[in-house]
């Protein structure tokens, strides 16, 4: 971070005394005000990032000292079946949660758009899952997912005549069950963003369409959805950043089980790092996750550019 401080110092040589001292003071004060943030970012974001990059090239051993292994940790990851399936699970979970939350969020946003007082109540109530503590909510869902006939969700689907499901307890349904909870928590957030976007839609267009005798569907298709396009991209970008890194949900609900069927990248990295003490491989995993997040963000941005031009 010392390099970022040099611009301030280089402009510190005043050509004229009076104006110079003012010009000198401005930047120094600015850097002083920024210093706490920069120091904290340096220590807890940037240094860890570089340490991660560095350690990913070593076999990290606590007492024997680190041993340089080059790209071997990455090779381990690429060739490892556990990692392959964890990456796959992460992608499925991220994609499913994103699409599910956006579709449902849009639907609900359209249904509760409007200034009425009771709609405000519905919105507030529906938004609660977003602000709740993940770990606590996950415990609640873990209980609701109980595979016995007396589990809450099994009772509810029983009303519709559906047989009890094993939910988290089965290899076939564990990942999908986690996805259900993630969508439950993600939908209200997307709904609120859509609602904010809907406010900006030009009302006169609706009226003009009504005069032309356009149906509700056509109005939606040709006025509302195009107006919401920027919102879709925002939500996709956010999901691209957040989707792959999911940890708490999986850690609390299944911890990757049963039999690795819901293991995602972060839970695997956590286990490698803190339980098996394979810090080198775990660091490499973190870098891979970072690269994937970055790639996904870039792809989404590129698609967005192409759409708008």
């Amino acid at each position: 971070m010392t390099s970022t401080l040099t611009p301030a110092r280089s402009s510190a040589a005043p050509p004229h005394r009076r104006t110079g001292s003012v010009r000198w003071r401005g930047p120094v004060i600015a850097w002083l005000f920024l210093a706490p943030a920069l120091v904290l970012f340096l220590y807890f974001k940037f240094i860890p990032m570089f340490v991660g990059l560095w350690k990913s090239l070593f076999k990290v051993q606590t007492f024997l000292g680190d041993e340089w292994v080059g790209l071997q940790n990455y090779q381990t990851i690429i060739s490892d079946d556990e990692f392959a399936s964890a990456i796959w699970h992460s992608i499925v979970l991220a994609l499913g949660t994103t699409v599910g939350s956006i579709v449902l969020g849009l639907g609900f946003a359209l249904l509760i758009e409007g200034p009425a007082r009771y709609l405000w109540f519905v919105r507030t109530a529906a938004f609660l899952p977003v602000v709740t503590t993940m770990a606590a909510v996950a415990e609640v869902w873990r209980i609701m997912f109980h595979p016995a006939d007396s589990g809450m969700l099994n009772i509810i689907i029983g009303w519709a005549g559906v047989d009890p499901q094993p939910w988290l307890a089965s290899e076939d349904s564990s990942l999908w069950s986690i996805m259900i909870m993630s969508i439950w928590r993600g939908t209200p957030y997307d709904m609120m963003i859509f609602l904010a976007g809907l406010v900006g839609v030009d009302r006169t267009l609706y009226e003009a369409a009504a005069v032309d005798g356009a149906s509700t569907w056509r109005r939606l298709r040709h006025i509302t959805l195009p107006a919401l396009r920027p919102v879709f991209w925002i939500l996709f970008t956010l999901a691209a950043i957040r989707g792959l890194r999911v940890f708490v949900e999986v850690y609390v609900l299944t911890n990757g089980g049963p039999n690795g069927s819901s293991e995602v990248l972060m839970t695997l990295i956590y286990k490698l790092g803190f339980q098996k003490n394979e810090l080198g491989v775990a660091s490499a995993g973190g870098i891979v996750l970072f690269a994937a997040t970055l790639a996904l963000t870039v792809v989404v941005q590129m698609l967005r550019r192409r759409q708008t031009t």
Binding site: T4, A126, G286
Partner: protein, 286 residues
Amino acid sequence: MRFDSALGLESRKGPLAIAGKTLIYGLMVVVFTGPLVALLMSSFSKTLDPTSFSLWPDEFTLENFVQAGEKNVYLYLLNSFVVVGFGLLLQMLVSVFAAYALARKKFRGMTFVMLLMLATMMLPEEIIAIPLSLVLADMPLLNLNLIGTYAGMILPVGAWGFSILVMTEFMKEVPVELEEAARIDGAGELRIFATIIVPLCRPALGVIGVFGFTMIWDQYLLPLIVAPASDMWTLPIALRSLRSDEEVGIGVLLAASLLALLPSIIAFLAFQRQFMRGLTSGAVKG
């Protein structure tokens, strides 16, 4: 014809439409708050059965919360409050200071700093969890070990790109004239900052306050890394250990979960307007 919304549902007033709307809205409320209501009710019930919830407390009891005390739940709650209290104070101070520089000063390297802030927002903290634990165990240059300390849970949340950017956007709106007038009156930098800029930014303080609170309260991986011994645990990471208890069933877990949920729900309900504002501005920036 008037249109307040895309579907124009509000203008439909027939009995069938009203019934349909009631059903839809009722269902939404039930789906999204149901699990939370079930938690609330069950935590005051005698729930020995580990499988199911009751939507109405059968046999109202405070037993779960009494038992929770024996399982150290209130210690974990206290830890959570210590971390969120100091963490939020630090985070808000750091954000206000940094925003002042970014919004009110011109200097070389500003674009670079802005890019750094955005980069930290793009970088999910989970990705650096492993190396962060190494850094915390041996802070470069300082030779400190923050593992097993409150500082280890507080300092890493001290700087948050989102807060800084929201604050910066808001501070840009404060008219320059006010600042210049004070400067002519001979007010120093800190005085201008503390008596003019910050008081005018009170609404934004609400926004970063409520977001910071929920963000820090929801921290999981960080305390998991920093607090190996259970006396340092925050409530969210302690929940796992409260799961299986033969004597009290899931009662203690439910009570603890409720205690973990309530603070952020209360913060949200109390600062709803600020929350919505931050939500839209944050999403647009994100």
